[in-house]
């Protein structure tokens, strides 16, 4: 991010605010259309109607069995996610207990909570930094459509404006069981993917 005159060491709050506002406004202008959900291969699979090859089976098994979530919990659904990760519901059953602080090592983003436009560039940045192949679970009403705050000027009405979403988990907040069901759906979705489809 380039702020103010080059060569200055310290920038004023006004300059920083202006630069951040410009970045947010440009993102807002580019993200007015919802990004279509990445689910092409599901229909492909139905059309082909053949069994997956053993390479596909092995790869998909490996991918769905080691989904590492990245830390990206902007709001209160995070508590349900934490409960899901903790001992009672225990997502380590799915090989997901390693919640990575670095997006470079993660391949699943569970978007737990309301996203404001101010936070949106950072979420987009985390998604961009994640390694391929990567998936996104939109958790809660706010993540799906903005929820209660959908009409607000500062809230992103749905994460699918910012990042492509694979699975939507409704609820306000969704209970851990609901999130586990969403994770199960994602695993089913991954298991239908074929490497020939990029």
């Amino acid at each position: 991010m380039e702020v103010g005159r080059a060569g200055l060491y310290v920038y004023s709050d006004t300059e920083l605010d202006r630069a951040e506002g410009a970045a947010i406004e440009s993102l807002k202008a580019h993200c007015q259309q919802a990004i279509p959900d990445p689910d092409k291969w599901l229909e492909e699979e139905l059309r082909r109607n053949i069994l997956l090859t053993s390479v596909d089976f092995m790869l998909n098994w490996a991918r769905r069995s080691s989904l590492w979530p990245v830390i990206c919990f902007p709001a209160c659904c995070a508590f349900e996610l934490i409960a899901t990760a903790a001992s009672r519901f225990d997502i380590s059953r799915f090989g997901m207990e390693i919640i990575r602080a670095s997006p470079r090592q993660a391949d699943l983003m569970i978007t737990a909570g309301t996203l404001t436009w101010k936070m949106a560039p950072q979420v987009r940045r985390i998604y961009d930094q994640m390694a391929e192949p990567k998936w996104v679970i939109a958790m809660g009403a706010c993540a799906i459509s903005g929820g209660t705050f959908a009409q607000s000027y500062s809230v992103v009405p749905g994460y699918n404006l910012i990042v492509p979403v694979d699975v939507y988990v409704p609820g306000c907040p969704p209970r851990p069981e609901a999130l586990l069901y969403g994770i199960k759906m994602l695993r089913d979705k991954i298991s239908k993917k074929s490497i020939t489809e990029g």
Partner: protein, 123 residues
């Protein structure tokens, strides 16, 4: 005797094999198109994660941190010496007891000197 070194050689071979495999694995997966290739400027950057710094990261720190660090270091080392002394206090007897007090006295003199020189005041 010589056969014992074979274990080190074996260990070296395993280490080399492991390192080379780990390095070549991504290239192999890319070659067979198993990993999708969708680069973008942010992913390709060497900066791993987190927010980028605004402006230059070669900022100047206040010189007074140095004084605090130095004082902290002196007292920290004092504590490191006190732990083994406290464990063996009974065996060391009076000599050890008085010796440590002399040691603490020297450090305290330095501390009071720094205090009098107004090092602890943040101006």
């Amino acid at each position: 005797m010589l056969a014992d070194y074979a274990y080190i050689g074996l260990f070296l071979i395993v280490a080399l094999f492991f390192a080379i495999t780990t390095l070549l694995l991504p290239f192999t997966l890319r070659f067979f198109r198993i990993v999708p290739h969708k680069p973008n400027p942010i992913k390709s950057s060497t900066y791993e994660c987190g927010m980028e710094t605004v402006g230059k990261s070669w900022v100047q720190f206040n010189f007074r941190y140095y004084f605090y660090a130095l004082l902290f270091l002196a007292l920290d080392v004092l504590v490191v010496f006190l732990y083994p002394w406290a464990v063996d206090l009974r065996q060391l007897g009076h000599f050890g007891f008085i010796g440590v007090f002399i040691f603490i006295f020297i450090v305290i003199v330095g501390y009071v000197y720094a205090w009098r020189k107004k090092v602890l005041e943040w101006k």
